[in-house]
């Protein structure tokens, strides 16, 4: 009131006051504007931030085999999952069953930003996933659980159980070859055909014939072949070729007496395309899965599979 009276009496006083207050008012206005623009920025950025957080969480997809939740592995999995969180490797977990279509499952998750698919299980789990999904454009990792059937992890230099999380976090990616059977399904480790009368053609250029009718045939990639005497060496999963090992059966008196199969020294041929056919259907084991075949075409997809590997890998 005083001011009003004084200003009414003296107009210079109100001008002075106005001059003194004006900069503060301008500052307040600009601050308000600034706050408003920040609010607007936050409002517009919020969905994107959520998207980024979502994508980050979904960068990893974990495919659990059903056995990993069972009693001997429960404690290991608890530690493994704790490490996923500690290392910032959290992601979506899906439990796969024998009826799970891994290909369509991974394809769906790729749409939501999945960059890495981690198979949690053993050799059989890897075969289950890779037989249909090896050609997808995604990085594959492996957490090998348990102590049995984990030769593939050993070959890739991945330690077993919770120690595998360190390898996963280190994220050393190597491009490796995988095999294609009849242009339909894939294999990573090996193929085995036990004693059949086979016609074998390599790379469409030469035919391999055995003196004896029955031969044992093995194709190796990420695991050495099961053929006796060939379990070491011959592991070149980055050379763009697969190796076929052929061992003709030898008929002898002793082998007949003791019902034991005897074989002559094995032959090894690297190839890009292998045709195996027989007059009668034969049993073929690819990555541990048995099928009945009469003609098989095996080709190689050179360095197409992105795999997280460890320092101790065998190639």
């Amino acid at each position: 009131m005083k001011t009003t009276i004084s200003s009414a009496k003296n107009p210079n006083v109100s001008v002075r006051t106005a001059r003194r207050v004006a900069p503060s008012a301008a500052r307040i206005v600009s601050a308000r504007n600034e706050i408003a623009s920040i609010r607007e920025l936050v409002r517009t950025a919020r969905p994107h931030l959520a998207e980024v957080a979502n994508a980050r969480n979904n960068a990893y997809l974990y495919l659990y085999d059903s056995f990993v939740r069972e009693s001997p592995h429960k404690d290991v999995m608890r530690i493994v999952e704790k490490r996923f969180v500690d290392f910032g490797l959290s992601g979506k977990v899906i439990r796969i069953t024998p009826f799970t279509n891994c290909r369509s499952l991974i394809e769906d998750e790729l749409r939501y930003g999945v960059k890495t698919v981690v198979v949690v299980g053993n050799n059989e789990t890897v075969a289950k996933v890779m037989s249909r999904a090896a050609d997808l454009d995604v990085v594959f990792g492996l957490i090998a659980v348990g102590k049995k059937d984990n030769e593939l992890a050993e070959s890739l230099g991945i330690p077993l159980n919770e120690e595998a999380c360190n390898t996963l976090a280190a994220r050393k990616i190597e491009l490796v070859d995988y095999g294609v059977i009849n242009n339909q399904r894939f294999f990573l480790t090996s193929i085995h055909i036990q004693n059949a009368r086979l016609r074998i053609t390599c790379d469409n250029t030469f035919v391999v014939k055995a003196d004896k009718e029955n031969v044992e045939l093995a194709v190796s990639n990420l695991l050495p072949s099961s053929v006796q005497g060939m379990t070491k060496g011959f592991l070149h999963p980055q050379d763009g070729k697969l190796e076929v090992i052929i061992r003709p059966q030898v008929s002898g008196v002793l082998s007949g007496l003791f019902n034991r199969r005897a074989y002559s020294k094995p032959s090894v041929f690297p190839f890009r395309r292998l045709l195996v056919s027989a007059a009668r259907p034969f049993v073929m084991t690819a990555d541990g899965r048995e099928t009945q075949e009469s003609s098989v075409e095996i080709t190689v997809a050179p360095k197409k599979l992105k795999m997280i590997v460890g320092k101790e890998r065998r190639f």
Binding site: T205, F206, K209, D211, I246, P248, S264, S267
Partner: protein
């Protein structure tokens, strides 16, 4: 050739196996069985005793202990062991023939595997050129 073994070996043709066709490899080859057609490798070839080859052979270096019916072209060394028998022309930089080895064919030798080398007719282990190295086994 001595280094060829273990993991260096890429292709092995076992003793009871026959290969028919054009056999091309980028790695070392060991042949203990039979091959007919042609053999070509950028690395070393070893033909073991008892092996039979009816093919033209091209390799970086070759060690022959078995039978070869066909021409051999080796960019570097061709070594014939006492049990070796070669029926065909050879074109090599350096030739090593052990006593007892048989070579029936024309021999072209020199720095560029015969391009500028001397031509020599060799029969059953005898030799007429200074580039030939006699090896007592």
């Amino acid at each position: 050739m001595d280094k060829m073994g273990g993991d260096d070996v890429e292709t092995i043709v076992g003793p009871s196996v026959r290969v028919e066709g054009d056999f091309v490899s980028q790695g070392n080859i060991v042949i203990e069985g039979q091959v007919s057609g042609s053999i070509k490798t950028e690395k070393n070839l070893r033909v073991e005793q008892g092996a039979k080859i009816a093919a033209n052979v091209t390799a970086d270096s070759a060690l022959i202990a078995g039978e070869v019916k066909g021409n051999i072209k080796a960019m570097n060394t061709l070594e014939l062991t006492p049990s070796a028998r070669v029926d065909g022309d050879v074109e090599v930089k350096t030739l090593i023939i052990a006593a007892g080895a048989a070579l029936n064919g024309r021999c072209i030798m020199g720095g560029d595997a015969g391009l500028n080398g001397a031509k020599t007719r060799v029969k059953s282990g005898s030799y007429e050129d200074n580039n030939l190295i006699s090896k007592e086994s």
